[in-house]
Symmetry: C2
Subunit: 439 residues, 2 copies
């Protein structure tokens, strides 16, 4: 990133920001040139804006609250402690205060919580020239986007849409009605923000209109908000896939205790789940005592199942988030993963067999029955890898089916699940192959 | 998502698309209403557009190639087999062909490969009214965005930028020079697309100008391209974190053999790595033979280290991708993870101790020395979890430092690494605690 001119202060402040206390932040912010300050302030997230606003003088607070778009102002007010909300709302002018209050009625993660009420609306019977003159006035007020223009009837129902470029390029005396498109992609105000992002991304839109159950236009969600949603949702999914709860703040800004709390929950659940492996091993303790050599391959065998499962579950989780795979596709996915798991299992089984049977020193390391041990390891791998891949792929479907987040089928979760069943498969195969010799 | 009007065909075709052969796709596409077809075509990705174009008549190919923005057309040509590229380029008009050829000189993943050369450029000495009249003509040609207007000198160097709204709201007789901002955020044409996305997202821009080493404007990257980049990069990271190579196509469109290939590489590497656990176990076979009870806790103990490591590595990988953590922050992260790992280890150690020592039936299950066994498990957990968390957190730093993708520090990779060391820690602690009794 380069800056033309000498604007180094803002980027310096940005770098230092995480290390400053609230007083130093206020001081640094006040030293910025006016338009640098504006860019810096709007680039902060709602929580940081809120903290900075709390240290401002009333005049500063009024100035900066009024710099915010209504949807961003609503986020700031919602990020503030209850006792500060009135003060923040009070810093807005009356019209914005009403808009912000209306937005706050929506859940933050819905289309309604993401939208801006400041779109450009036209009547169908205006001419192109009248429309442009009207827009030129509207541009002086702070509308969110003039990329699309929405044509409404008297009840605020959406009749059509025109891109700004279409309007701008049309002959002056044409009617808006004649240039607008009547087939408009809209989203309902209670649609989840992740799905709103998918609608915008998949249809290559710059903004999407948000309507209520009666088809009345409530606001618009613009693509710049979607970028943040896509990044946020991907971050949450990645953190869950890694086996911790999603963090609310960036890693370095999250306190150590909060990190421990977010990670301890899943780690403890998985740990308690892993006690089942101890129980399973205890169940086969006699076999182990008779053939201690079997224990040498336990980490190898069960982790291969876990790895195959992690691969399958993360691929399916991501495909679900991108809406490439839907709930009803479970059967197709299952069939594919059985085949894929079998092929991967055969590959690992072959390598395992070669390693145990062909490498010199095997007889010394694994005893006289090393060939049968190799067959046991190899056959177990085929079954365990196939089971890992199918279980890992089906778990996100099961979670979604019962209303949970598919991303909870984290790599460690799948691995733990497959560890327990892997042990049972391994010892069952061992009993079958080795009975009469070692067992 | 709702559609006003009766536009069900396009969405029907979208749903059926993955299941159709190329002839059926062509047939379905030809049945769409003209503006439905336009939306449908531009929403396809470059590879699908390319496949469809190959089935078109020459006239259709010319029509549809010319619908594409130059950056999208360049992607289509690059997605095509070498022998089809000339035909595709030939379908463009001469001016577009030159633009597309220039874009193809850039790597697809750079700012230069992402940018469009069709931005709106103005001279500083124009008045606002002249500028608007000029824009109105330009809007009829197919410029990529008129959200920002770029002011250039005679050598195409960027002097300033104005948002369309600012220009539109300014008094008619003002000069462009007087309303433009001279501090402009730009990116270099060789900047990686992920970093371009970060610049746009963090500065809340709708587009960013791309300049060459001489500061000359080469094109613009608009936010709608960034949405795709952010989704793509997150998908790649998630697939890598899950322990497979990144897929080129959506899961259901990737062939079974391709999936096997993408997953077999890492699975085999991890499998061979896991042979080290067999070696480590073999090294402690005497201890195992004397105290078979030790084997019961192996999956429990080592997987806890792997889980703590997966958490730490995915949190750090994501924080790096979001540019919240940089290479030079490694020491801060290390200090935090030592503390976090210690606290998590103490928690699991306490639960483990309680489970082994306090639960009824422990003496029967784990023998007379069950208290010492509990102490062994518990102490090992403290060390292994702490080691897992720090190793998992440091691995992405090491990978990035040596020029690899941090996301390669996948959950299965970290788990495998920690499994081997975890065994050594477990048996070392066991030797220390149990020597003189069981060992």
């Amino acid at each position: 990133m380069q800056e033309l001119g000498d604007a180094v202060q803002a980027s310096d402040l940005e770098d230092a920001w995480p290390f400053l206390d609230s007083e130093e932040r206020l001081e640094g912010f006040r030293l910025l040139a006016p338009h640098e300050a504006e860019r810096f302030f709007t680039a902060l997230d709602a929580r940081e804006e809120c903290a900075l606003l709390a240290t401002f003088t009333p005049t500063e607070r009024q100035l900066w609250m009024r710099q915010l778009e209504p949807d961003d102002a609503a986020d700031v007010v919602q990020a503030a402690p209850a006792e500060q909300r009135e003060t923040l709302l009070g810093a807005l002018d009356a019209a914005s205060r009403r808009e912000v209050a209306a937005l706050m009625a929506y859940a933050e993660d819905d289309a309604g919580g993401l939208m801006s009420p400041r779109y450009v609306r036209l009547r169908p019977e205006m001419t192109v020239d009248e429309a442009i003159a009207y827009l030129r006035r509207a541009a002086r007020e702070r509308v969110e986007t003039i990329y699309y223009i929405y044509v409404l009837d008297a009840e605020n129902r959406l009749l059509g849409v025109a891109s700004f470029r279409e309007l701008f390029a049309a002959p002056s005396d044409k009617l808006v009605r004649d240039i607008m498109r009547t087939r408009v992609i809209t989203v309902r105000d209670d649609l989840d923000q992740e799905e709103v992002a998918n609608v915008i991304a998949e249809n290559d839109l710059m903004a999407v209109p948000v309507v209520n159950a009666q088809g009345q236009l409530q606001g618009i969600v613009t693509i710049d908000d979607v970028v943040d949603v896509v990044r946020e949702e991907a971050t949450e999914d990645i953190q869950k896939i890694g086996g911790s709860a999603a963090l609310d703040l960036p890693y370095l800004e999250t306190s150590v205790l909060e990190l421990v709390r977010k990670r301890a929950v899943w780690l403890t659940v998985l740990f308690i789940g892993q006690f089942l492996t101890t129980a399973a091993m205890g169940f086969f303790e006699d076999e182990l005592a008779r053939a201690i050599v079997l224990s040498l391959f336990i980490p190898l065998v069960i982790s291969s199942g876990g790895n195959a499962g992690s691969q399958a579950s993360t691929l399916v989780i991501r495909a679900m988030a991108m809406e490439e795979v839907r709930l009803r596709d479970w059967w197709r996915v299952l069939r594919r993963e059985v085949v894929i798991g079998l092929l991967l299992g055969l590959a690992l089984g072959a390598i395992g067999l070669a390693r145990v049977v062909l490498l010199p020193g095997s007889q010394q390391a694994f005893g006289d029955e090393f060939v049968l041990i190799g067959v046991t390891v190899s056959l177990s791998l085929v079954w365990i890898v196939m089971w890992g891949a199918t279980a890992g792929a089906m778990l996100p479907f099961a979670l979604r089916r019962f209303g949970f987040d598919p991303a909870s089928a984290s790599a460690p979760f799948v691995a733990t699940l497959v560890d327990v069943t892997g042990l049972v498969i391994y010892f069952s195969v061992a009993t079958f192959v080795l009975s009469g010799t070692l067992l």
